[in-house]
C-alpha cells in the first residue's frame, strides 16, 4: 500500500527533478502520465524562476539570459522554497550569489541583488510615524545627550563596495551600464516615503558612521558625537551631527524620540 506521505514525497521529488515517480502509481487517464507529470515539473521551475525575475528585474538584465538561467537553476536547487509566500523565496539570493561561481567572482552582482531586495523590503515594511524637525526643537537641552532615535520601519542601510547602484540606475533608465568599479560612496540609505514610494540616496563616510551608531546600534546622541570626534575636528562635531539629524528628519525617516531608558 502506498501511503499518502510516500506518494507526496515521491511526487515532489519527481517535480524537483531529484528522482523518478513510479509510472505504475499513476492511473492512465486520457492524458499520458509522462505528460501529466511533466506539466507539474515544468510549472515548478517556471513559477520559481518567475518569482525571482519579478523580484530582480535589473539583475536579470545585467546578467543576460544565459547567466540568468544558470543562476535560477542553481538557486532553486540550493534553496528549495520553505516559505508560504513567493515574496520571500529569494531572500537568500544576495548571499548565494556572493558564494557561488561564476557570480562570486564579481561582487557587483551580489550587491546589485542586495540593493533590489532592500528596495523590496522597504516597499512592504511596516508603516510608522514620521516626526518633523519641530519635535526635536521641542526637546529640552538636558535631554540631548541621552537622545536616541527610532527610525521608520522601512529604513535600510546598505554598505556599498561597488558601483552596483549606479549600474542599477542606468539599466533602469535603459542606458548602457557603466563598467563595474569601486563605489565612491560608503553606503546607500533606502526607505519608503510618505507617498509609499521607495527612495534611496548615497551616504558619505561620516554619515555612515553616524547611521551605524544611531540606526544600527541604537546609540545615544552623546555617543554619536564621541564617534564623530574620532574622525572630525572637535569644533565641527556638533554642527555636523545636527546636520545629519536635520537630514534624517527631512527624509521623513524618524518615527520616535526616546531617552536612554526607552522613555519618550
Amino acid at each position: 500500500m502506498i501511503t499518502l506521505q510516500t506518494l507526496e514525497k515521491r511526487f515532489l521529488a519527481h517535480v524537483r527533478g531529484s528522482s523518478i515517480f513510479p509510472r505504475e502509481w499513476c492511473a492512465q487517464g486520457l492524458v499520458n502520465s509522462d505528460i501529466g507529470l511533466s506539466i507539474y515539473a515544468n510549472a515548478y521551475g517556471s513559477r520559481l524562476s518567475e518569482a525571482l525575475e519579478a523580484d530582480h528585474p535589473v539583475l536579470g538584465q545585467y546578467l543576460g539570459d544565459s547567466l540568468w538561467a544558470e543562476f535560477c537553476k542553481g538557486y532553486i536547487e540550493a534553496h528549495p522554497s520553505q516559505v508560504r509566500s513567493l515574496r520571500h523565496f529569494g531572500a537568500q539570493v544576495p548571499t548565494w550569489l556572493a558564494n557561488h561561481s561564476p557570480f562570486s567572482g564579481h561582487p557587483v552582482i551580489s550587491e546589485l541583488a542586495r540593493f533590489e531586495r532592500s528596495l523590496l523590503d522597504a516597499f512592504d515594511a511596516a508603516d510608522g510615524e514620521r516626526l518633523d524637525w519641530s519635535h526635536l526643537q521641542a526637546l529640552a537641552p538636558g535631554a540631548w545627550p541621552s537622545l536616541r532615535l527610532q527610525f521608520h520601519p522601512s529604513v535600510r542601510l546598505l554598505q556599498t563596495a561597488t558601483n552596483a547602484v549606479e549600474i542599477w540606475r542606468a539599466l533602469k533608465e535603459d542606458l548602457p551600464a557603466p563598467s563595474a568599479s569601486i563605489s565612491s560612496e560608503a553606503a546607500r540609505l533606502i526607505w519608503r516615503d510618505s507617498d509609499r514610494i521607495s527612495r534611496f540616496r548615497p551616504v558619505v563616510a561620516n554619515e555612515y558612521l553616524a547611521l551605524c551608531g544611531m540606526f544600527s546600534e541604537g546609540e545615544m546622541f552623546a555617543s554619536l558625537c564621541e564617534q564623530l570626534a574620532t574622525v572630525l575636528a572637535v569644533e565641527v562635531v556638533p554642527a555636523t551631527a545636527i546636520s545629519f539629524l536635520r537630514q534624517w528628519f527631512d527624509d521623513g525617516i524618524i518615527s520616535r524620540l526616546y531617552d536612554a531608558d526607552g522613555n519618550p
Binding site: C26, I35, R84
Partner: protein, 298 residues
C-alpha cells in the same frame, strides 16, 4: 476598518440564516494591476477576492490598497498555501498570519484548495493532486477541522485542476470532495473551469461531477480561462472564460441554483473594464436561471 459602503451594493439576504446559502453577487479577483482603477472607477463589482498570501506583509502599498478597497467592497480571502492535504504538520505560523489578516479584513469567507503544496518542509507553490483514498479523506477532513477551529469559522475548499491521477484511487473526485465536506463541515468553492479542465484530462463527465456534489454545500463558484492543447488542457488563467465553461456554468446553476460567483485572471491581465464586462456575462447567466436566488438547503 470604518465606513464600509457595500451594504447598498450587496444585499447578502439571510447570509447567516441556518440552511441558507449566502448570496454575495458577482466578484472579481483583486490584482495589483487594478488597484488604482478600482479606487478611481468604483466598478460595478459586488465583491473582490484577494489572494491571502499577497497581503501577509507588514505595510506599504499592499496594505494601503487593501484597506482602501475594503472600505468600499466586501472581500473574500482565497489562499494558495494552506496545503491542507500535505502530510507535513499544519503551519501554525502561517495560520496565525491568516487569522490576523481575517481579523483585519473581516472577509465574507476564507477559502483554499483541495490539494497539497509541499512535503518535507519544501513548498512547491503549486496545487498538487491528492489520491482519492479513504486515508486521504480522513487526513484532509481532520486537518480542515483543526484549521476551522483555529480560525473560528468554517472555510471553503476548492476543487483543483489536475493532470495526473493515481492508480490507488478508491473513488471519483466528486465523491472524495463530498465526503471531506460532510466530515469536516467545510463548504465547497466549486471551480467550474477546473472541473472542465480535469474532465478533459481524465475523461470524466463534468455534469455528473456536479450532480454528485451536495448542492447546499456549494457557496461559491470560480470561473477562469484555460489553455487547450488538444490532447490535454491546462488551467492557465490567462484567457477569458471559454464558451464550453460558460455552458457548464449555466448547466451547473440550473442544477443547483444561484451561487456567488467570481472570475479569476492571473496572466495577460486586461483592463479592469474588460473583466467587468466579462463578469456581466456571468451575471446574465445567473439572472436567467429560474431558480430562486437563494438556494434552500435540503
Amino acid at each position: 476598518m470604518p465606513d464600509r459602503a457595500h451594504s447598498a451594493r450587496v444585499p447578502a439576504p439571510g447570509a447567516n440564516a441556518p440552511g441558507v446559502r449566502p448570496w454575495h453577487g458577482y466578484g472579481l479577483g483583486l490584482r495589483t494591476e487594478h488597484f488604482d482603477a478600482v479606487l478611481e472607477e468604483n466598478p460595478a463589482v459586488d465583491w473582490f477576492e484577494i489572494i491571502s498570501e499577497n497581503f501577509m506583509v507588514a505595510g506599504g502599498k499592499p496594505r494601503h490598497y487593501l484597506d482602501a478597497i475594503r472600505a468600499r467592497y466586501p472581500l473574500a480571502m482565497h489562499g494558495v498555501s494552506l496545503s491542507i492535504g500535505s502530510t507535513d504538520p499544519l503551519d501554525l505560523h502561517y495560520l496565525g498570519e491568516l487569522r490576523q489578516l481575517a481579523w483585519d479584513v473581516e472577509p465574507i469567507w476564507i477559502s483554499d484548495h483541495l490539494c497539497w503544496t509541499g512535503n518535507g518542509g519544501i513548498n512547491s507553490h503549486d496545487l498538487m493532486p491528492l489520491p482519492y483514498t479513504e486515508e486521504a479523506i480522513a487526513h484532509v477532513a481532520s486537518r480542515i477541522g483543526q484549521v476551522q477551529e483555529f480560525l473560528g469559522r468554517e472555510i471553503l475548499i476548492e476543487n483543483v485542476s489536475t493532470y495526473v491521477s493515481f492508480a490507488n484511487a478508491e473513488m471519483e473526485e466528486a465523491v472524495f470532495l463530498s465526503e471531506i465536506a460532510r466530515l469536516s463541515g467545510c463548504r465547497i468553492l466549486l471551480d467550474v473551469n477546473n472541473i472542465y479542465v480535469s474532465s478533459r484530462n481524465h475523461g470524466f463527465d463534468a455534469d455528473a461531477y456536479v450532480a454528485a456534489l451536495p448542492a447546499e454545500k456549494i457557496w461559491q463558484i470560480h470561473l477562469a480561462g484555460h489553455s487547450d492543447y488538444g490532447d490535454y488542457v491546462i488551467d492557465t488563467h490567462d484567457h477569458p472564460v471559454r464558451d464550453e465553461v460558460w455552458a457548464l456554468y449555466a448547466r451547473t446553476l440550473q442544477r443547483i441554483g444561484q451561487v456567488t460567483t467570481m472570475i479569476e485572471r492571473d496572466d495577460d491581465i486586461p483592463p479592469l473594464a474588460d473583466l467587468v464586462a466579462e463578469l456581466d456575462q456571468a451575471r446574465t447567466i445567473g439572472e436567467s436561471v429560474k431558480n430562486s436566488s437563494l438556494a434552500i438547503c435540503a
